[in-house]
Amino acid sequence: MDSKSTTTKPIPITAMVFIGWLFLMTFLPFLIILGMSFLERTPVGTLSFHFNLNNYIRSFQYIYLKVLFKTVWIALIATLSCLAVGFPVAYHLARSKGWMKQLGLVLLFIPFWTNFILRIYGLVSLLGNHGLINQVLLHFGIIKTPIEILYTRTGVYIGLLYNYLPFLVVPIFSSLEKLDPLLREAGFDLGANRIQVFWRIVIPNIKEGVFIGSLFVFIPMLGEYVIPDLLGGAKEAFLGNVMVNQFFVMQDWPFGSAIAGLLSVLLLITLWLQTRWSRTPGLKMEGLDA
C-alpha cells in the first residue's frame, strides 16, 4: 500500500479497544469527579443535583488556600533540594565510563522497585524516636533526648527527597549525555577555564532539560498523599490529604471533588508551562522517546 492511503486509513478496531478502555476506565471516572464538584451535599447527606460553583467558592477560604500554598511551597523546596543533590549525582554519572555508568544507574534505581510503602516504612524506622538515627546519636551521647524528625515537616522533606531523587537524576543525566563534548573542548581551546566552561557552555545547553525534569518531579509532588500522611502527621497535610479527608471523614464528596478539580487545574497550569518552555507541541513526556 502507498503512504497516502496509510494516513487516511480509519483507526482500526484493535486501537478502538484500547482507546475505549482508557475512555471508560480513566477519562469517564475523571469526568465524574469533575461533575461531582459542581453538585452539593444536602444537610441530610444526600447529593443535590443543583449545579453551582459553591464548592469552588468555598475552596477559596483561607484554610484551604493555606493548604494550597503550603503544598506548592513544600513541593517547590523539595524539588530544589532534589536538584541540589541530583545535579552532582547526574554529573558524576555522566562523567563515568562504560560499565561504571550502567552500574551507577542500576544502583540508583534498585531501591525504587522495592515496594513504595515499604520504603516509607524504612524511613519511618530510620527517623522515628526509637529509629536508627536517634539510637546512634543517643548511644554516642551526642544528644540527650531523641530529636523529632518523624511527623514534622522535615520528615516530609526527607520523604519527598528520597522518593523523587532518581526521577530528576535521569533527565539531568540525559541532557548532559546529549551535550556535544566538542563544545566543551572548543571552550577550553578558546582559553576558558573550567568554571567558565561550566557556566557558559554546560549550563546554557542543559537548562531546558533540567527545567523540564524538575517539573516532572514537581508535578507528582503536588498530588502527593502518602508521604505527608505517613511522615508528616496531621499537621503537614497536602491538598491530596485534605481531599481524601473530605471524602472519608467529612463525607462531603462534592467538596472533596472540587479540591480534586483545583488540583487538576494546578497540574494543568504546570504542564502548560512545561509545554511552553520546551517548545514542543502537545503533551510530551521527557525521556519517553529517548
Binding site: 469517564l28 471516572p29 524504612g122 530510620l126
Partner: protein
C-alpha cells in the same frame, strides 16, 4: 578532563549510600530480638513467625493474583492499542495523545478517588474485581508505550509480504506480528505486574472493606504501630522486589523503564 571532581563523586556515593540505608536497616531489623534496639542481639524468630501467620500469607496471595490478572488484562488491551496505532503514532490528534498520557500524568490520589466514585455510581461491589480493573486501567498505557517501541522496530515488509501471500489481517496479527513481539510482551507484562504488586493508593480506594493486598496490610500494620511481623514481611517483600527488578533488567525492552522508575 574526564574525571569528575572528588567533591561531586563524594556526593554521588553518599547519595547512593543513603538511598540504601532504610532498606538495609529493615533487613537488619528482621534479625534483631527487639527491632528497635540495635544492641538486643540476633534472632530468627520473626522470620519463623512470618511463615506461621496466615494473616500475612493471605494478602500475599491476593497481591499475586491481582498482579497476574491485571497484568494480563493490561497487556492485552495495551498491545491491541499499540498494534492498531503504530502507523498513526506520530500523527495522533492531541486529544488521543492526552487520553493515553492521562493515566500516567494524573495523580494517583485523583485516579483512585475517581475510580471509587465510578464504581460506586455503577453499583459495582468493591473488591477483587474492581482492584484488578483499576490496576489494569493505569498500567495499560505503560504497556502501550513499550509495545509501540517494539512494533516500530519490526520490519513493515514482513506484514506486507504476508499480505501479498494472501494472509488475512487477523492471520497477519497472529502468525507474523505476535511471534515477533513476544519479548516486548514479556517485558510489558512484568512491568504491569510490578506496578500492580507495588501499588498502594489505587488499591486503598478501590478495594472496599473486605480485601487486603500486601501493601494495604503493611499500611494498616504501620498505622496500628509497628509489629515485629512487619519486619519479617518487609524482608520478604524486599526479596520479591529484588527478584522482579533483576527479571525486568534482564529484559531489553523493560530495562529502560526500570531505569526510569
Amino acid at each position: 578532563m574526564r574525571r569528575s571532581n572528588p567533591f561531586v563523586a563524594a556526593i554521588f556515593f553518599i547519595a547512593i549510600f543513603l538511598l540504601y540505608t532504610p532498606l538495609f536497616y529493615l533487613i537488619l531489623q528482621t534479625f534483631l530480638n527487639n527491632p528497635n534496639d540495635l544492641k538486643s542481639g540476633f534472632t530468627l524468630n520473626w522470620l519463623i513467625k512470618l511463615f506461621h501467620s496466615p494473616s500475612l500469607w493471605e494478602p500475599l496471595m491476593t497481591s499475586l493474583e491481582i498482579g497476574i490478572l491485571s497484568a494480563s488484562l493490561a497487556v492485552t488491551v495495551g498491545t491491541l492499542g499499540a498494534v492498531g496505532l503504530v502507523e498513526f503514532a506520530s500523527l495522533l490528534p492531541v486529544s488521543i495523545q492526552s487520553l493515553i498520557m492521562l493515566p500516567i500524568l494524573l495523580p494517583e490520589v485523583i485516579t483512585g478517588l475517581s475510580l471509587l466514585l465510578f464504581f460506586l455510581l455503577l453499583r459495582v461491589e468493591l473488591g477483587f474485581t474492581t482492584v484488578v480493573m483499576a490496576h489494569a486501567s493505569f498500567s495499560a498505557s505503560f504497556v502501550y508505550f513499550i509495545m509501540l517501541e517494539q512494533l516500530k522496530k519490526l520490519d513493515p515488509q514482513m506484514a506486507e509480504a504476508a499480505q501479498d501471500l494472501g494472509a488475512k489481517p487477523h492471520e497477519i496479527l497472529w502468525k507474523v506480528t505476535l511471534p515477533n513481539i513476544i519479548p516486548g510482551l514479556m517485558g510489558g507484562w512484568l512491568l504491569a505486574f510490578t506496578l500492580s504488586f507495588d501499588d498502594f493508593l489505587i488499591s486503598f480506594f478501590t478495594s472496599g472493606a473486605g480485601l487486603t493486598t500486601l501493601p494495604l496490610k503493611i499500611y494498616s500494620l504501620m498505622k496500628i504501630g509497628v509489629t515485629p511481623e512487619l519486619n519479617g514481611l518487609s524482608f520478604l517483600m524486599i526479596c520479591i522486589s529484588t527478584f522482579l527488578v533483576l527479571l525486568l533488567v534482564s529484559k531489553e525492552q523493560s530495562r529502560k523503564w526500570v531505569l526510569r522508575g
